[in-house]
Subunit: 459 residues, 2 copies
Amino acid sequence: MPIPPPALSALTEIFGDRLSLRAADRDHHAGSETFHHAPPPDAVAWPLTTEEVSRALSVCNEHRVPVIGWGTGTSLEGHALATHGGLVIDLSRMDRVIEVRPGDMQVTVQPGVTREALNTELRATGLFFPVDPGANASLGGMAATRASGTTAVRYGTMRDNVLALEVVLADGRVIRTGTRAAKSSAGYDLTALMVGSEGTLGIITELTLRLHGQPEQVAAAVCAFPTLESAVECVTATIQSGIPMARIEFVDALSIRAVNAYAHRSYPETPHLFVEFNGSAESVRADAEAFGDLARECGGTGFDWADTPEERAALWRMRHQAYPACLALRAGAKGVVTDVCVPMSHLAGAVAAASADIAAEGMTGPILGHVGDGNFHSLLLVDPGDADQLARAKGIARRMAERALAVRGTISGEHGIGIGKRPLMAAEHGDGWAVMGTIKAALDPNNILNPGKLVPDRN
Amino acid sequence: MPIPPPALSALTEIFGDRLSLRAADRDHHAGSETFHHAPPPDAVAWPLTTEEVSRALSVCNEHRVPVIGWGTGTSLEGHALATHGGLVIDLSRMDRVIEVRPGDMQVTVQPGVTREALNTELRATGLFFPVDPGANASLGGMAATRASGTTAVRYGTMRDNVLALEVVLADGRVIRTGTRAAKSSAGYDLTALMVGSEGTLGIITELTLRLHGQPEQVAAAVCAFPTLESAVECVTATIQSGIPMARIEFVDALSIRAVNAYAHRSYPETPHLFVEFNGSAESVRADAEAFGDLARECGGTGFDWADTPEERAALWRMRHQAYPACLALRAGAKGVVTDVCVPMSHLAGAVAAASADIAAEGMTGPILGHVGDGNFHSLLLVDPGDADQLARAKGIARRMAERALAVRGTISGEHGIGIGKRPLMAAEHGDGWAVMGTIKAALDPNNILNPGKLVPDRN
């Protein structure tokens, strides 16, 4: 159902030439980095202020027009696809860093600020924002999907680093959740409810984020292990010994082969851990030594330490290049990216089972992940147009999620639900999924906010 | 309205002689440690299983009987008072530690387990549960009020340490929120929604908690400062320098006078900081030295280090005794305890303003708090039956909260809302408070769960 003419003229009044019905603009907001697809939205608007978002939502609520928030379009489960048509609200022009408060170690930003832009802005303050999902996503989008990434083991996820939000509700009301205090017990945690709600409960128009001190010293290393099990054993031992890690990443033998080819390296083609320690010069040295001892006990060899900022940047660039590197394993292939998170005691078993399943299906699917959290991914390579391969990849992803649930893990560690993981929500949450639907229906009775995503279909 | 006879007979069928209508049992569940009062509930039940709670809620929902969860009765804002009559569900007999999973650093408990009982049970594992509100509260109650305390600066609050819950909803449905994975982005964060909901959205019947490694080394100290400002300056400097503290507590001159009298000490009657460092022997020594340097720069003197577990226990017992010690400043007095939390940059100003207000009113009100979070309390001493004093104490508490809001802090750092802070909710949350009411109405349409608390009255 296209946008009704009275709604369109009201939206034009709000946005002027920042409302577009052009095919190019609509198509640009229909794509996705993955195999998820949907027709383009009916229109795209680029608000500059909270008030514009509020007025737009009032109009859309009155006329039952679906509204989909858009950050940078880097989500992986089709979160921002306009499956029911409607208006995409592209927040990329609300990209101001509103206020840095070094004394409180906080910053207030508009939702279109990307994490890299924020950290560039913060460079001179001695502070930084640590959550790093790899992509240079917008902070509003990262909050909406409860993103995390390589540093969550030390600094937490968006759940832990969003202190307060300004949110426009379905009916255009603007609320402020949370405060600038470090903690609060004043009522329902609406901030936590909005973080991870994927645009189904409101549009985030402002975020107050926790910042952290730039560490005095950083040391990073990569280290080879003979087997998957020995690498995971090293992770578990490190965590239990209380050694504080800033990052600890697992990369399997196939990923290393891909990285070697892509980035012209010559690492041994066995499982590796990438680690990083932050702190004072003294504590980083002590932590690195303690980790080195544990790693060697688990069979780790060939430590390659990156001491300078340049070497470190190169090392983490290599880790983040694993995605294109793995895609390059098979010319023209697209990736189906899986994302489960399991209790630490089940991590080795879960990775081994995933690996065996991928092999049994004859697929190419390197495995890598943020193993300090029990979170890992496989990148299943699928030839475009090969429906059978795509079905088998989806089967592998589904079984991986089912195995995670069997050990009381989760179907999504950090990528969220969107449309991709929605069929698995009932299995993870049982009646809790219906509760999510009840909350959604209460706050968005006309179901205009990102309909068809995350919650059950309404009866 | 008393419990209707059909409901009473259905409840008797469920609980047998674990349902009581006796005045002594009802009165025992009508008291509170504060000046908040209400008539006793109509009945008290002691369930042993989730199924009993579920059946009881079905009955109460059908017959519109209010249901109030009860842990240890140590809340400070009248959370568990039966202001609308009804059934108190006392969870103290659901006190089993269900499963300790050292490999995952997690434990699953029933809600009636107290934090001290849990830590006794964990002693041999090398792990502990860090959240410490002072009182030996039940873990279910601590989750329901989003408790924190002295260790939050290092280990977080209940928000950060509850991974998963089993909750019985108003209609008797049992849901499981969260998983055993360290993080998840699978839908709305129902765990965070339930933590701090004060029994208004459901009754918690099981909790999965994060555990932490018992630190290899612990060092604690108390240190005197010439002024409030110099003590707070030391806190801010310590946090900004990134020195990891396990606890950092402010105690004002009047509290010290009270502790000296009560515990036969002879500390100088000036503001003090109590601090604790956890870690390896090496890191604790380095942290303590770095803190000592900062404290001396801020004018700190007279370090009294507690090195042995016994000395440390004595030191923290003294800090936790501040409450009875301060009450003992004035024979027969009752305390009105305030609880605000402000951004760090406003802490010194907020404490100074509170202190001036207390002096201007001619009240006795020592100030102390978990200043690493910006959270502080005053214990305003009120003679029983003195209505004027009580009104002035409430005025001081209200103005303290209003000043916290003026600097974008919160009206409750850790004690919650109950009935005491409810009149201030609109000022903190604006339309967000109405959103809380909408969620409550959607999940508890008959308003049986702890009615009259936390959310707005229903139209």
